[in-house]
Subunit: 218 residues, 2 copies
Amino acid sequence: MERKRSDIIADELESLILDGSFSDGARLDESQLAERFKVSRTPLREAFQRLALSGLAEQIPRRGVFVRQPGPVELIEMFEVMAALEALCGELAAARITDAALDELRAANTRCQQAVEARDTDAYYRENECFHGILYRQSGNGFLEQESRRLHRRLQPFRRLQLRVRGRLAQSMAEHEAIVDALEAGDAKGAAAALKSHVAVQGEKFHHLIASLRQAAE
Amino acid sequence: MERKRSDIIADELESLILDGSFSDGARLDESQLAERFKVSRTPLREAFQRLALSGLAEQIPRRGVFVRQPGPVELIEMFEVMAALEALCGELAAARITDAALDELRAANTRCQQAVEARDTDAYYRENECFHGILYRQSGNGFLEQESRRLHRRLQPFRRLQLRVRGRLAQSMAEHEAIVDALEAGDAKGAAAALKSHVAVQGEKFHHLIASLRQAAE
DNA sequence: GTCAAGGTTTTCGTATACAAGAATTCCAAT
DNA sequence: ATTGGAATTCTTGTATACGAAAACCTTGAC
C-alpha cells in the first residue's frame, strides 16, 4: 500500500516537532515548507490538519498554524491519563494474558535490563516501548490498544528527560518486574495499581525535574 | 472567530454519520458531496481527513473514504475505555470539587429526573451530557476533560439504544445520586468505582440488547 | 515623537486544472 | 460462454490560480 505525500510529510513534521526541532509557538509557514519539501501547499495543508487534530499544532483561522508544545502542567495531565489507560490494560490483561505473552514480557524486560547496564539509552527506550506495547496488545481491547499507543507515542520524547533523575531506571525496572508478577498471578487489581503508579510517577518525576531546572536557572 | 467552510462541513458530516444517515461501509463521494454542499472538493477533502482521524471514516489511498461504524465488539471496547476515563475524572474530582459544582451536579440530576418523568428523551440526554460534562471539568485535568468529551461525543448516539432496556433509566439516575454522594464525601475511590460501573454497565447493556435483537431476528 | 488611517502586501481559504492510478467495460480469443 | 487483456472512464492526489482577510508599512497629522 503506497502512502501519499501528505501522509509522509505529516510524519516528517510530527517527528520534527516531537524531537524539538520546532520550538513552541513557532509558525509553520506553508510556502516556506512547501519549497523545503518540494511539494505544493495542498499536501502540506493536509499534513497541518493532522498535526492540529493530534494536538501537536494549533490552527488559527486566517492566521496560520503554530506548533504547540505541551507545558509542564499539560504533560502531567497527559501522564495522568496515560496511567489510567495503562492501568486498564493491566487489569484486563491479567485475566487473559497467555504464557507466551508473559515470556515475551520477561524477555523484553531482560533486554531492558541489559540496555540499562550497557548505558544504551536508545535500546532501553526501544525495549521499554516493546514491553508496554505487549501489554497494550494483551489487554484484548483493540480500541484501548490503539488509544494507548497514540498517547504513548505522544509522550515518548518526554520520557527521555527522566533519565536525569538519579536511580529512576533501576526503580523502573523493579516496577516492571512487579507488573509481570501481578499479571502472572492473574491479580487484576495488583497489575492495575502497579501500572498506574509506574506511569504516574513519570509525570511526577517530570514535575520535579522541571522544578529543579527552574530553580537552577534562578 | 469565524470558522471555515471545511470545519462546518466536517461537523455536518460527523452528525450525519453519527445519527446513522450513512450506513457502514458507504463511500463518501467527493464530487457528489461537493455538489450537495455547494463547495469544491478541497474543503471536503479536509473534512474527510478530520473524520478519518477521529475514526468515523476510513481513508484508503487511491480508493476513497468509507464510513466506518463501530461494531458491537468495538463499542463495548470503547465503553470500557470511557469507563476508565470517567473513573479517573471522579477520582480527581473528589479531591477538588467545589460546593458550587456539587450544586450544579445536583441541579442537572434533578432536571434529568424530571425529563425521565416527562418521557422527554431529548431533554434526558441533554441533561445527562451536562452532568458528565461538569464532572469532566471538575477533574481539574484539562487534557482528561478534552479526551473524555471526545469519546463521550463519539458514543453519544449509541447511548440512545439503551432506552430500550427496561428499568435502565431509573437505575442510571440512582447511580448518578451515588456518584454525587461519593464526590461530596470526598471519597475518591468510591466515586471512581461508581463511575466506572455506571459507564461500563452501558456497554454491557448494549451487548445484551444486541444479543436480544439478534435472537429476535432468528 | 507618537499615533492613526489608508493603502500595499502577504497569507490563508477555496476553486479549478491537471496528472496518475484504479475500476469498469468491451472485445477478442479460446 | 468464459476469460484475458487493452482501452476508456472515473476518481483520487497534487499543482496552480484566484479572491478575501489580516498583517504590514507608509505617510501624515497632532
